[in-house]
């Protein structure tokens, strides 16, 4: 009788849908702000009108959905067939249903269950405890090739079949009367019982995955492997009290209703791998729609997340009767109508969570959905969510978390910089991403005028940018990052400002210069100019600071810094330009411009940035002190060997000494310091013009020591010693002169000088010498004593025989005892040493003779198979050299290796050849 309705068509419009809503009385109940995620939307599919009209007694018993086909079994033994079409209008999804056939099964019993076997194009029907099959399209009964399966309480289809045949459907069947579970294979033309297993109690619900039967018995759940018979008790459950749920949710994993209103997960091994969800006591049906567990009870649909077990959404649903998922589509039925629970797009759920500042949940949901989204799409989504999450936490000043999310989300750091007014350079091409990652206009908007907040955010950005600029994250926007960082440093008076400018950076000059000026960071501004190659501008700024025109206390030693800077500056015009300024301020410091400068290694190449010392000397003419320092630098430190410089310095020294001597007010210390310098130069240098200086000090009787030195330079040792001994009477100086004068000369020269000195000491005929004066005897005695001391003290340098001829007859042996003793001992030592050497040489000679004889006695084997021990090549000629021990080597190898006059080398040419 239902077939007449074939082709009746009904499209549910939105208007109608609203009517259903109000008539059926369901409303979204997910209004509690704490838990609201809108994960699903309930969309009507088949309205009451299409099924039973206003016949109150007729109820929906079961549903089956397979692709677009929707089958509904009713309690009056009808099967209704609909086609279900999704339509989306203005982003709202709705279903239009097309009524197909209606078939009456001819009994007065309800249709208990329907399952589609789409491969066989069959619909399996459970009615009156009997399984039968009808065609999916015509709903005509199909003979099952044998007896119907009777006495069935419940059945299930194996969604993870063990049989490889695609045209075979596996079925688990619970017997109504016996404590057994049967497994059937359903073919196109027959139904085959594969296995029958007995259970300890009456089973009441079954689910099948592979060989695993998950069963609800009357007092507990269990897992049964029907192939091996292995059983695994899960946990107790009173099936009388509450309807058990056994729901396969994935490969070898089941969802079970547990006592206390729990949804428990259990795998085939009987282990729970996920924490349970807490739904209500009276759950009728449940399904998993990842990452959610959806459950239906008497009044509500509850949505729990499998990721954190929390209740996420509650939808009111009265008269709920069935909740089942078909290939991911969750379909619900009240007793009168059918609805589809449509998941909202994941992104929208996540955005909703973010809008509620529920960062962790949003991230959990995103990451939980990883396996449901293509990888590239997931990465983009994940990054964006991380960035958004970061901004939310940033807005809440949770900087640590924000930073972590920015980092993992690979945030374009300019998004963050752009929040801070004026930080991005004017030239930056950056524009914020769309749709925006956050709702803040800028930092002021975020902080709502709270300056402390602003400061905290700024400090955060400083640390963040500091970390980012050293990573790849700053690639492509280094200018923006560094400029922003510089501005923040300047504004916050941060110490790292100078470090930033002193190290490689990408700060934009045009943008930063006004900013630094505004914050009076003139020193830093100079550094920035310098970094950008504008040294002139840099120095100009700094000079103005030193001169007090600008105020910046960054460096108290800025003047010294400028001098140092100029000493390295390669722009010579700039050096000359500011040298005068620097020298006027302080000659001793200013001269460092030149003294710290490295000199050209190769004077012939006129390298840029190199200053000719002559130019400097000419330039420094007006700055005496600086000139002196500069010459000292060249001569004493750089050890430049130029007569002109040495003479110039010596003349300057002399002039200074002379002028100090001329001034009666000079302090002794000053004079002696000046003289020390002069003396040192005169002694150490061999380059200055001696005659010139000698002429300069000839008339000054106070500079006798200097004169003696100059005479020494001219090798006029007698004159020099005469001055030292007779005029200065400074015997230690005279001895020191001998040492100095003979330094870097051979021993003979030294002996010569000492003999000269001895001669001067012993010379009695010196006219004008103080010894001839009235106190002459004293003076002579003094000289003689000096001579004795000299001999006794430095006996080793004298030729004893010569000395014996020189010393006066009257001197006692006792007087010269130390000298004579040492001379005697020395001579004896030399004699014995030579004797010893002679003996050793003789013995070596004999030894070598012995070796030679020994070598000649035995043959030396040389063959073209044998290698030379030095180069490891073979011998091609009979000529060879035999090393001690009889090792033959090439003659050229031996020549290369052995020192020419080594005693071990012996040529054994033309030795007998034994090849």
């Amino acid at each position: 009788m239902g077939t007449e309705r074939k082709g009746t068509e009904a499209v549910i419009h939105r208007r109608l849908r609203n009517q259903i809503c109000s008539s059926n009385g369901w409303v979204d109940a997910c209004c509690a702000a704490e838990m609201s995620v809108k994960a699903f939307e309930l969309v009507p599919a088949v309205a009451r009108e299409l099924l039973m009209g206003d016949k109150a007694r007729i109820n929906i018993e079961c549903i089956e959905c397979c692709g677009k086909h929707l089958y509904i079994g009713t309690n009056d033994c009808f099967i209704h067939h609909f086609l279900l079409e999704e339509t989306t209008t203005k982003g709202t999804l709705s279903y239009s249903v097309q009524k197909q056939l209606v078939r009456y099964l001819g009994l007065k019993k309800p249709v208990d269950a329907l399952k589609a076997a789409s491969a066989l194009e069959r619909l399996i029907v459970l009615c009156d405890s009997t399984l039968s099959m009808v065609d999916m399209v015509t709903l005509e009964p199909v003979p099952s090739g044998g007896s119907k399966v009777r006495g069935v309480a419940a059945f299930c289809i194996n969604e993870n079949p063990v049989n490889g045949d695609p045209f075979c459907v596996e079925m688990g069947v619970i017997s109504a009367r016996r404590r057994t579970v049967q497994v059937y294979m359903l073919y196109e033309d027959r139904v085959q019982l594969v296995k029958e297993v007995t259970t300890p109690e009456q089973p009441c619900a079954v689910s099948l995955d592979g060989y695993f039967l998950c069963l609800a018995l009357s007092s507990q759940y269990m897992i049964l492997n029907y192939s091996t018979g292995a059983a695994q008790d899960l946990f107790p459950y009173d099936s009388e009290e509450r309807k058990p749920i056994v729901k396969r949710i994935g490969r070898e994993e089941f969802l079970l209703a547990a006592p206390g209103g729990l949804g428990m997960f259990a795998n085939a091994e009987g282990v729970s791998q996920r924490a349970p969800v807490n739904w209500s006591e009276s759950v009728i049906g449940a399904a998993v729609c990842f990452p959610y567990v959806v459950a239906l009870d008497e009044g509500f649909i509850t949505v729990h997340s499998m990721l954190d077990q929390q209740l996420k959404q509650t939808l009111s649903f009265r008269d709920g009767h069935i909740l089942q998922d078909f290939e991911g589509k969750v379909v619900l039925a009240s007793t009168k109508a059918v609805y589809v629970l449509v998941p909202l797009p994941l992104e929208r759920q996540i955005q909703d969570l973010l809008a509620g500042h529920r960062v962790e949940e949003a991230l959990t949901l995103t990451e939980g959905a990883q396996r449901n989204i293509p990888k590239d799409k997931f990465q983009i989504l994940h990054k964006r969510i991380l960035q958004q999450a970061g901004f939310i936490q940033f807005g809440q000043l949770q900087f640590l978390e924000a930073k972590e999310h920015f980092r993992t989300g690979q945030l374009d750091v300019r998004e963050l910089i752009s929040l801070y007014p004026l930080l991005l350079p004017a030239s930056s091409s950056f524009s914020r991403c769309h749709p925006p990652l956050h709702q803040f206009a800028d930092l002021n908007h975020l902080a709502q005028g709270d300056q402390e907040k602003v400061q905290k955010c700024k400090r955060f950005l400083i640390t963040y940018l500091g970390e980012v600029r050293s990573t790849e994250g700053a690639n492509g926007c280094r200018e923006d990052v560094d400029t922003a960082l510089l501005k923040l440093y300047a504004e916050q008076d941060h110490d790292s400002l100078l470090d930033l400018l002193a190290s490689p950076n990408a700060c934009l000059l045009a943008d930063c210069a006004p900013w630094l000026e505004k914050h009076h960071k003139y020193f830093a501004l100079g550094l920035l100019y310098h970094y950008n190659g504008q040294d002139a501008a840099a120095i100009q700024i700094w000079v103005r600071v030193v001169n007090g025109e600008l105020q910046d206390s960054t460096r108290s030693d800025l003047y010294e810094y400028i001098v140092d800077f100029l000493s390295f500056c390669s722009n010579l015009d700039l050096v000359w330009k500011y040298a005068d300024w620097a020298l006027q301020k302080d000659q001793t410091i200013g001269v460092k411009i030149f003294t710290l400068r490295t000199l050209a290694k190769n004077q012939t190449k006129d390298q840029t940035g190199q200053i000719n010392p002559d130019d400097v000397i000419t330039y420094l003419g007006k700055h005496n002190q600086a000139l002196l320092l500069y010459l000292e630098h060249l001569v004493l430190e750089r050890r430049i060997k130029k007569e002109k410089l040495h003479t110039h310095l010596a003349v300057l020294y002399t002039d200074r000494v002379l002028s100090l001597l001329a001034q009666s007010s000079s302090m002794d210390a000053q004079v002696s310091a000046a003289r020390d310098k002069l003396q040192l130069l005169l002694r150490e240098s061999n380059l200055y013009r001696v005659q010139l200086l000698l002429g300069k000090i000839q008339d000054c009787n106070q500079l006798l020591l200097e004169r003696a030195t100059l005479h020494g330079k001219l090798e006029e040792h007698d004159k020099a010693l005469h001055i030292l001994v007779h005029q200065l009477k400074d015997f230690p100086a005279a001895e020191a002169y001998c040492v100095w004068g003979s330094a870097s000369r051979d021993a003979g020269y030294q002996q010569h000088l000492y003999h000269l000195l001895l001669g001067v000491y012993l010379d009695r005929d010196i006219p004008g010498s103080s010894s001839t004066g009235p106190g002459g005897s004293n003076g002579t005695g003094e000289l003689e004593m000096a001579a004795v001391d000299l001999l006794n003290g430095h006996g080793e340098v004298f030729d004893a025989v010569q000395v014996l001829g020189l010393i006066p007859e009257g001197w006692s042996l006792q007087l010269l005892r130390p000298f004579l003793g040492r001379a005697l001992r020395g001579s004896m030592h030399a004699h014995r040493t030579s004797q010893l050497a002679l003996g050793l040489a003789r013995s070596e000679n004999i030894q070598l003779h012995h070796d030679r004889l020994k070598q000649r006695r035995s043959p030396v084997l040389v063959s073209d198979q044998k290698g030379c021990h030095l180069c490891h090549n073979t011998f091609s000629e009979p000529d060879c050299v035999c090393l001690p021990g009889g090792v033959p080597v090439h003659t050229h190898c031996a020549a290369k290796r052995v020192v020419p006059d080594s005693p071990i080398k012996r040529q054994l040419a033309n030795t007998s050849n034994h090849t």
């Binding site: 507990q220 206390g260 209103g261 729990l262 428990m264 009987g270 969800v277 077990q309 990451e367 939980g368």
Partner: protein, 258 residues
Amino acid sequence: MPEFSKMRKPDVKIVILGDMNVGKTSLLHRYTERKFKDTVSTVGGAFFLKQWGPYNISIWDTAGREQFHGLGSMYCRGAAAVILTYDLTNWHSLAELEERFLSLTDTANHDCIYAIVGNKADLTGNQAQQVAGQDGPTEDQGEGGGVNPPSACPTPPASPVLLSRVTLNKQVSREDAVSLYGRILRYKGMDESNCLPADKMCFETSAKTGYNVDALFETLFDMVLPSILRNRTEREQSPTVDLEDHKETGKRTRARCC
């Protein structure tokens, strides 16, 4: 990230069992979050994945309520260690371990390690009482901890209950726990001389002050390492191709390329 860790396959399982209100959730929370906070009575169970060196250890926190008792043996299935928790101030909670919870561990691994943990040491006036002292236990509060409020709270809400300073006497001595340990080994038919000694396996902790909590978990982690290694080798030797594992490694290598 903990979100990711939920996706990873745990290498080994540790289960915390014990009567309600002994502080199972608080113990786990103290260890994982480093703080003590209010917990509500655990429903069903929850678990936490701990990265311990290269291994993932899942720690299951169970519900102590009688109502969920039936689930216990399922949680224990395949466990490498079971933490039997009691309340030091409540003798009954120790007795319950033997009467009610011991049989649940029948499903655990044959070489499962048992630790006996007396919690709430801060209430017994021993050295764990550094922070505690303001409040007494209130039995009507949520399961787990049974003490209120979070110790981190700078100004505890002024409630008469909290201000009345109750110190409870220790009801369970260490010797009681040690002898229970011995009985457990006998129940399991294990030779005491081959097992870990009782003085190493009986702990007194305070989830509130953190006393001995890290020591408890980390001692156990070290002890279950052999189990982990055995699980790993079993998994490697298993002829079944683990598609999920393969997918993961594939992902990892691909991620490295880009």
